[in-house]
Symmetry: C2
Amino acid sequence: MPATDAKGTLTAEHIQQFKTILGDTYVLSDEENLTHYGHDETEHLQYPPEVVLKPRTAAEIAAIMKICNKDLIPVTPRGAGTGLSGGALPHLGGVLLSTERMNSILSIDERNLQVITEPGVITEVLQNAVKEKGLFYPPDPSSRGSCFIGGNIAENSGGPKAVKYGVVKDYVLNLEVVLPNGEIIWTGANVLKNSTGYNLTQLLVGSEGTLGIVTKIVLKLIPFPKFDLLMLVPFASLEKASEAVSAIFRAGFVPSALELVEIDALKIVSKMVESTAVPVDDSIAAHLIIEVDGNNMDVLMNEMESIAALLTQFDAGEIFFADDAQQKAELWKLRRRVAEAVKTSGYTIEEDTVVPRAELPALIKGVKELGKQYGFHAVCYGHAGDGNLHIRINHPTIKNSHGNAEMTEALRALFELVKKLGGTISGEHGIGLIQKPYMTTVFRDANLYIMREIKKAFDPNNILNAGKIFDLN
Amino acid sequence: MPATDAKGTLTAEHIQQFKTILGDTYVLSDEENLTHYGHDETEHLQYPPEVVLKPRTAAEIAAIMKICNKDLIPVTPRGAGTGLSGGALPHLGGVLLSTERMNSILSIDERNLQVITEPGVITEVLQNAVKEKGLFYPPDPSSRGSCFIGGNIAENSGGPKAVKYGVVKDYVLNLEVVLPNGEIIWTGANVLKNSTGYNLTQLLVGSEGTLGIVTKIVLKLIPFPKFDLLMLVPFASLEKASEAVSAIFRAGFVPSALELVEIDALKIVSKMVESTAVPVDDSIAAHLIIEVDGNNMDVLMNEMESIAALLTQFDAGEIFFADDAQQKAELWKLRRRVAEAVKTSGYTIEEDTVVPRAELPALIKGVKELGKQYGFHAVCYGHAGDGNLHIRINHPTIKNSHGNAEMTEALRALFELVKKLGGTISGEHGIGLIQKPYMTTVFRDANLYIMREIKKAFDPNNILNAGKIFDLN
């Protein structure tokens, strides 16, 4: 069991107090549970907690936090455990606080186009519930079938739709939060515009569970677009594909998705899901998946045709138009399962770089060069329309970047390139545990000083998800 | 000259140091300038600074801040002085730091749809510059012809377009900021998605010049929509007009503007600008101004017709469609000059309430009742589509709310109603000096504690725009 250095020790007495608050059923410390809650989807890392707590209410969390704050017990909040930066790993032991039982959608306000939800609702469940009312919550991480909306808030998640509709931060109006000292606050108000004091709502979004535990979420919704069209476009070179991306926007189009998948990744995922939907031949280096949506089919058809015409300037191959819902679903399934497929195939190290979109070709070129230099193979895919490139690394011997000096050096070189291109480390996965060493690559000491002081303002005892994003001391 | 209590004293030696940094021309302490820079557009308040500084560069501001931070001289940053909450009022004396010379658009990046600008650029100038490249920066406060983009960042401004396109915070990607200690940082990166540490960019937006002085701004741009249509719709009752607002969204429409103007306000502004564009008769209580925009005229025509049909359910009168650019400009001129017109007519006290949009009828009803109770007349107008209602108050004897016990009581009652409706104090004007007493109406102590600690993290000596939003001690 990992040491809780410089922290308080979790005792049998604490366990008893937790059982009084939650009932015996929701205080778990058997080996199977400790193992399960000791990992998320980040590399192959494993850090078991000392106890797993499953509260149902903000009041229960407040009671737990008061105890932990008093006795300096580390607390790691966790959603569905689909994170890719280690934000939910209880690397200091202590309490793992799972929000899985807080899984109710509290109200869908059709008058104001808002939804109030608890954090443990699966993102896709939430999306489907509001869709039944004709409403749309766009942010759709690839893991939306299993991730929690609370985790999405913590990491400021994106997904394919972000390119047109924005990321999680653009939909969060107000948050109920349990602070590390057990106080419960609302960060803002249920309004579309707000200039009332510092924006604590936006500060909480993307703070990776280090500032407070989100217990209720008010999200803005928009009308659900009536139609969408989807096409798949092959390119003979990765560079041409990524050049085409910024040309689409320069021509005045705003697709509702603009994804890039390198051919190696597509081969792997096609094999895994046993799909032959996408032709995979040696003349193809990468595909773009392009979707447009809206309320007028004629307009969308025109848009698609104009985009297709534009892409001929970038040596695009034969375009495949998804004709019906089934073909669209098949394409999206392939795209959504890329991460899982390549990880299973040995690409265990994932990066979440983001650059201004016109710099994608330079980034991709740099990645391939670094691969040669450091002896790894990388596949690239992701939200090209946003300049957000996921880079999966397969190294013959190094399977975790965390704690590995050689891979740390390689990644630092990658992030220096990203910084030089005007970009940064993470577009949607967060810093968590594993990207922490690179914060100094993109930020000055003064930035990190301020972030640390903000952390201290919320959590003076540094008990809540300590050692994530940055070390406090 | 106001006392700089508990602060350092500005001496002749400081003035000499400022002259060495800026040159004599840009260090002003004559009576005329002190008077001019002693007010903004907030009520009838006047607080002259002790000296006015006009730096040209971030480095000059850094040098000034180092001196002021060391000797505890209060510094109040100022854009164009169009603020409505007193954020730019140097109520503690000391240094007034004007950004008016930092007025260059540094680059328009057509490859990435971004603009980098200095803070002293007039918002409309920026909008026109990017429009020449086919690009669109939507946030358009009514004062856009005179306000600075830097001030818009400070207050997280909105404007009519916010209802479809969002407010300033939705366009700010990255900020160069001089911290109170003179350090210069960039808050983020020039990217569309960012999950890399706490969101200092969003924390700075709307922080009203209390955390740092913004010296460069990176904004996201979008393609400029090709067409727009505008209509003016009269209603026999204010309640019906505001009920119609949320019905439009519930029916699936997202107008690019949805403004409400009460008839009294329209009468005043029509008279001021000598316009007969809008018929003003006794059967009309309020108008909605509704705009749709997009790239396909047929779609827009259909949308406008559908909205018009929907409005008949709310007893709308005869709809006026603006036929050409001139008619549109005339309508917008009327709308944009309402604030100035009603202020000139004695409506000196302005509130910037925001509620979930379906609560507008309840808010308007409450405002009128409070008017009867406290003996004032109020006119309502504003961004109804966002639930953002400007309330202008004309009291026979009280012309400033700031420091007036009776008006403070009335406004506290107003904000308690707003809070009850799920709303908050300010949608786009900020808290500044005059809304400070009401922060406790909408926030708990724990919220204010955290805001104060954040302020201390940036500005431990409390020299930068001290006493705005909240008092530190």
